[in-house]
Subunit: 346 residues, 2 copies
DNA sequence: CTGAAAGCGCTTACAG
DNA sequence: CTGAAAGCGCTTACAG
């Protein structure tokens, strides 16, 4: 298409100057006489000419385009990360394209062909929900990729990945969540959702266990349920937990992997006539836009996703080889309350 | 970067053939002798060589990259559209970049410079929430843009925009929503949210009025509130409506612009002790992932956003100059119920 | 089956 | 201040 495919040659010949001169005007260089500049600019405006960045890239060896690999945009958590990254990229004059996980092609013959061919100026990869056995494959794919473009990691980045990163410290976060609940008198605290992670010392399970230890509470296997991070999974997981325990042992507080899982838990509690937070507190994570509008409004943890995305772009462009941690902030709403032994047992 | 910036020349000289031959192997052409192909392929693998698509684009005059302009990704409604478009683009071998509305630069001297310079193969523009006075500016900007690349419109596309489009027919949708509520005996039906649209004959207001006429109900100005499409706006709008009306005139059913607004309405109803759907039915639009998990679960309208995005990509690539309508589907949940005059007056 | 050469639309030294 | 020329890394006729 581009019916107007005017080139720098058209402008040059129209004005009667060389393409070098047009190029100078285009890039706002100062060493052009006012008269010439004026004539060239007029021709440019008249033809509505815009130089092809493709040709420019070929010379400059830079495309000013970045990529980001995210598990899925339908979870607003990732949409926030993407938005933060996208806006920062644009602010710095870069374009941002989304690539699915499949782009890494960790099991294909040639990893990340499309990414490399596009000559991106950098790539952000959100490392999350990795099947445990994929860990090394992914690490290897990332190492290969790095030979072609700068890579910055975000998410639950294993500490032995030697990449610049803006990483969650899930363990510390979980520990503070547990502390928040134990301070309110809760002792039967369940943790629902998330894949089984064996290697990452920052993993949530560790933080969960540490938090219990801090409060001198025992770790109870029945209170730890694994599963996917969806509302349906949360619903089913709590359902199953309640079904498998005598009422006396029902947890009085639920820590959900994320707000989606928490939504499912609220639903199950409602179905069983368990009042939240009267009989059971629920806390989520990610602080999605809908958290304040759930019933009861959901206490959650704001993980500053947009800032994470923006920061990753900054690291990518500056080339700093730092590993940073994501800040978090517990947002108190109505779904958590002090444990009330009378109501709790009612 | 790209420390491995091997070029086609490196491979050619390494193997001792011409770059034309390497190019043939690269593109899988058949007119290469097996022996040569083998040697070339080995060199490619050895050096981990990937041809630069930038150089390829310069020749082929096509970039296989598309753009999409969306109001904001943080509303899952748009994230769904983006996901649908992105996945379809990828399936067809294209890349998809998100551009903010500002890219159109409707009020700047040079419209859409960045978009044009990137030589996109096509652009999807979601036309929504246009300030009424911007209508002509946007139309003009789009016309200019079209001289440079194919453009497909989605969203609330005014019918006098002569562009290929996958457009909502909001009027018809609203009319059927009103019919759904009147069939349940509702007579005091409010419509909350949305900007004041004066020109578009497909606008929701018209559908709302037509729906009332269908049921021989009067149009009551107090039941129509304008505002932004956010939860906060929905909350405030219903708040104001209830405050300005005597209890007897409170609406028994609320049609919200979208699920976000509906979330706000549920909140206000809860605050006023109005039971939903006992005393007031609420229906949203967009069927966001959280709709089933609100309390009560929200009846909404599924507008097949992913399909919309995918379809727009297809039109863009095929070049068909069609204008299609988006299908919709009312999803019944718990927030709407037949009007019960006894409870309603209680 | 293979190669030399022109061309894609720019930028960048280098002369003048 | 301006231009001729080389170069960016490919593809594409055109010869052979």
């Amino acid at each position: 298409m581009n019916s107007e495919n005017t080139t720098i040659y058209d402008i040059a010949s129209e004005v009667g100057v060389s393409i070098a001169t047009v190029s100078r005007v285009l890039r706002g260089e100062t060493n052009v006489s006012p008269a010439t500049r004026e004539k060239v600019q007029q021709a440019i405006d008249r033809r509505n000419y815009r130089p092809s960045s493709i040709a420019r890239w070929l010379t400059s060896k830079t495309t000013h385009s970045l990529g980001i690999i995210l598990p899925k945009l339908l979870n607003p958590h990732y949409a926030m990360i993407f938005t933060g990254a996208q806006e920062e990229a644009r602010r710095l004059g870069y374009t941002m394209s989304l690539f699915p996980w499949a782009s890494l092609d960790t099991d294909a013959y040639n990893p990340a062909t499309m990414l490399i061919e596009r000559r991106l100026d950098g790539l952000i990869v959100c490392v999350e929900y990795l099947p445990p056995d994929h860990d090394e494959l992914v690490h290897e794919a990332l190492r290969t990729l790095r030979r072609f473009m700068p890579v910055v990691l975000i998410g639950c980045v294993p500490p032995w990945y030697d990449f610049p990163a803006v990483a969650n410290n899930n363990a510390a976060m979980m520990r503070s969540i547990v502390a928040y609940l134990t301070a309110m008198g809760h002792e039967k605290i369940a943790f629902i959702g998330g894949v089984q992670e064996d290697k990452d010392p920052h993993r949530r399970d560790i933080g969960y266990e540490e938090g219990l230890q801090d409060a001198r509470l025992p770790y109870t296997a029945s209170y730890r349920v694994y599963g996917k991070g969806t509302p349906e999974a949360g619903k089913a997981a709590l359902e199953e937990m309640l079904g498998s325990l005598k009422r006396d042992y029902w947890p009085t507080a639920i820590i959900a992997l994320n707000d989606l899982v928490a939504m499912g838990c609220l639903e199950t509690a409602r179905k069983h006539g368990i009042s939240v937070p009267g009989q059971m507190s629920v806390i989520g994570c990610d602080d999605l836009f809908c958290a304040p509008y759930l019933f009861p409004s959901l206490t959650s943890v704001n993980t500053h996703q947009q800032q994470t995305g923006a920061r990753a772009v900054q690291l990518l462009i500056s080339g700093e080889q730092r590993r940073e941690s994501v800040e978090w902030e517990l947002v108190e709403r109505a779904s958590c309350a002090p444990f009330n032994s009378e109501k709790g047992e009612s």
